[in-house]
């Protein structure tokens, strides 16, 4: 609700404002929805003046329709596909993360969500030489791990430092700071936060860690915070043409299978959803680094296609989707 203020538009002076308040018209919405003839009689103001004020306020606060053709042209020129650095994931995502959209990675503990996010951040900052904004709510991000991943890609120390500088980390641990941080990023522009570099990816790891403690019961505030954070992420993705990657935990569904958490209201927010799971195949007893990714929601590919990859060697895929196993004796 936008309250009426003096000087908001030409013609809305102090006297008129006072008489409108006396007639119980406090906000722009009230003025626009009221019967102007009625109001002009009650406040003894000319109908013409009210009509022109209404028209100016409407023009100031409405969203304007855009032609589909113009929107499409704009989208063609601004959409980019950001490779995740992991060929198996890229195959699932139809070549990579699309800018202007939210992609969700869900999985249980230890399924590799954070590792995949690190991989994406490293790939974008090193290979694509673009800035990354990383919002860490779990405390799992350490610079030494990022450096380790960078060192396995390139041995040039300067390049490693430059790539690290392009990853901007925000650490927050509750839903209110998440919402405020995302709103500030959206308003102030990502450019400011990234110190001038062009941001191509925003990673939030993880959304559910801060939101799910507030859900449940009869409180509405948790759901509202979740939707506010989602709206901030979406508008950021669209307005600044960035790819947004978020992570989510999993819960047991009614039929016994795993499904992404945060409920039905969150499920409409991401455009693409991937479920990560551990692959228990090795009988040797050592912990496997194999993970399987299943596409559970997509507007571009048929759902439920699966890909497997090795966390240790993210830039190379170990298995193809046809299931033929190749014994790879390369360095660990």
């Amino acid at each position: 609700m936008v309250p009426l203020q003096e000087g908001m538009c030409p013609g809305l002076d102090g006297d008129l404002l006072r008489s409108l308040l006396a007639a119980d018209i406090r906000t722009v919405e009230d003025l626009v929805s009221s019967d102007l003839e009625d109001v002009s009689r009650k406040c003894s103001v000319s109908y013409k003046a009210l009509f022109s004020i209404r028209r100016v306020l409407l023009a100031q606060h409405t969203a304007f329709p855009v032609s589909g053709a113009d929107l499409y042209e704009e989208l063609l020129s601004s959409t980019a596909i950001i490779s995740t650095g992991n060929p198996s994931l890229d195959k699932l995502l139809d070549s990579g993360l699309y800018t202007g959209e939210i992609t969700e990675l869900s999985g249980g503990p230890g399924s590799g969500k954070s590792q995949v996010c690190f991989g994406v951040a490293v790939h974008v900052s090193l290979q694509l030489k673009q800035s990354v904004i990383y919002v860490d709510t779990t405390g799992g991000l350490t610079a030494s791990r990022l450096l380790e991943m960078l060192q396995s890609e390139t041995s040039d120390g300067d390049e490693q430092m430059e790539a690290l500088q392009r990853i901007h980390v925000f650490r927050l641990f509750d839903a209110y700071s998440l919402r405020d941080c995302l709103s500030a990023l959206r308003r102030g522009g990502l450019l400011q936060a990234s110190g001038g570099g062009s941001v191509k990816a925003v990673i939030v790891d993880s959304v559910s860690a801060v939101i799910s403690p507030l859900l449940g019961g009869k409180q509405n505030e948790g759901m509202s915070l979740m939707i506010q954070a989602a709206v901030a992420l979406k508008t950021m993705a669209k307005d600044f043409s960035v790819a947004v990657l978020v992570t989510n935990h999993v819960t047991r569904g009614g039929g016994g299978g795993v499904q992404p958490g945060l409920g039905a209201s969150w499920s409409h927010i991401p455009r693409t959803r991937i479920l990560l799971e551990r692959v228990d195949r090795a009988p040797s007893g050592c912990s496997s680094t194999l993970r399987s990714a299943t596409l559970i929601k997509s507007s571009r590919q048929p759902c439920h296609i699966k890909e497997e990859f090795d966390l240790q060697r993210q830039s190379r895929s170990v298995r193809s989707s046809s299931g033929k196993r190749k014994r790879d004796e390369a360095d660990s």
């Binding site: 329709p65 855009v66 499409y72 759902c303």
Partner: protein
């Protein structure tokens, strides 16, 4: 010119009197004989995530903006996008495949897209103000016959939290939008299609009782909106059938969506169930 206590300009009066294209025949496979949405009717597409609502919406949108040579109705459409979910690339790929199968060239794509107007709203206050501004758009475009809202439930939780403890304050903004839409429908006689997301997950599984799905399908938006809705389309995902080993892999992967349309308009109470699957070229009814 004064008319019933409200000042109306002559061109506005003409815009109201001129009949807009009736969309009764928008999709005969979805709505039963003569049950399609007529002037001033509202269709609500309701379903959980991944049940094909957006695909259906794009299918109807394409049907409206395509030229008659490609099987369309050539009417203008206004798309109100409340949760930034409009996927223009997917829409254009559906339009493109329909136009190429009808043998039309590139220019037809641009002219079809120019019949589409898109508005983004980021809060229910902005939605209310935009709907007020809609009157000007309706006056200037007599061929605007369809308003698509995706989705009408996007601000539900935000309004609920803002309204505090009083339910009437929570529902106030959406009620005002619904009342305004009702007045516009009566005056200008266009049609509305709106999607509504579920807020509760229905427990799946073969042992799931009917009552849990009914619980999830119960309308939860405010009364003025529910009164406005004349056709309700419930979308759900059909459990993938087990094909025999002889069936092709492509068939096995095709997800089939089930649609149950019920109309509660004053004419008759009818309902119809249809199924479709989503292909690269859009929705294909089975």
């Amino acid at each position: 010119m004064l008319c019933g206590g409200q000042l109306i300009r002559l061109n506005e009066l003409l815009a109201r009197l001129e009949a807009r294209r009736c969309l009764k025949d928008i999709e005969p496979r979805l709505f039963s004989e003569d049950e399609g949405p007529q002037h001033g009717e509202v269709v609500e597409l309701y379903g959980a995530e991944g049940t094909g609502k957006t695909e259906l919406l794009y299918h109807l949108l394409c049907r409206c903006v395509l030229p008659e040579a490609a099987g369309g109705l050539e009417v203008d459409v206004l798309f109100v996008d409340t949760d930034y979910s409009l996927d223009m690339l997917r829409l254009v790929s559906i339009l493109d495949s329909r136009l190429t199968s009808a043998g039309l060239e590139e220019a037809a794509l641009r002219s079809s897209l120019s019949r589409l107007l898109v508005v983004h709203c980021s809060s229910s206050s902005q939605l209310l103000l935009t709907l007020h501004y809609l009157e000007t758009t309706l006056n200037s475009r007599p061929s605007l016959a369809l308003l698509l809202i995706d989705s009408i439930s996007a601000f539900y939780w935000l309004d609920r939290c803002e309204g505090g403890a009083s339910i009437s304050r929570q529902e106030e903004k959406l009620s005002k939008c619904a009342e305004l839409l009702g007045r516009l429908l009566r005056d200008y006689k266009f049609t509305i299609f709106a999607t509504c997301h579920t807020i509760r997950r229905s427990s799946s599984g073969s042992a799931a009782s009917c009552s849990s799905t009914l619980e999830a399908d119960r309308p939860y938006l405010c009364r003025p909106w529910q009164r406005l809705v004349t056709h309700r389309v419930l979308c759900s995902r059909q459990e993938a059938e087990n094909h025999t080993a002889g069936g092709s892999r492509e068939e096995k992967r095709r997800q089939v969506f089930r649609v149950h349309c019920s109309s509660s308009s004053s004419r008759t109470k009818a309902s119809r169930i249809s199924s479709f699957c989503a292909t690269d070229a859009g929705v294909q009814f089975i």
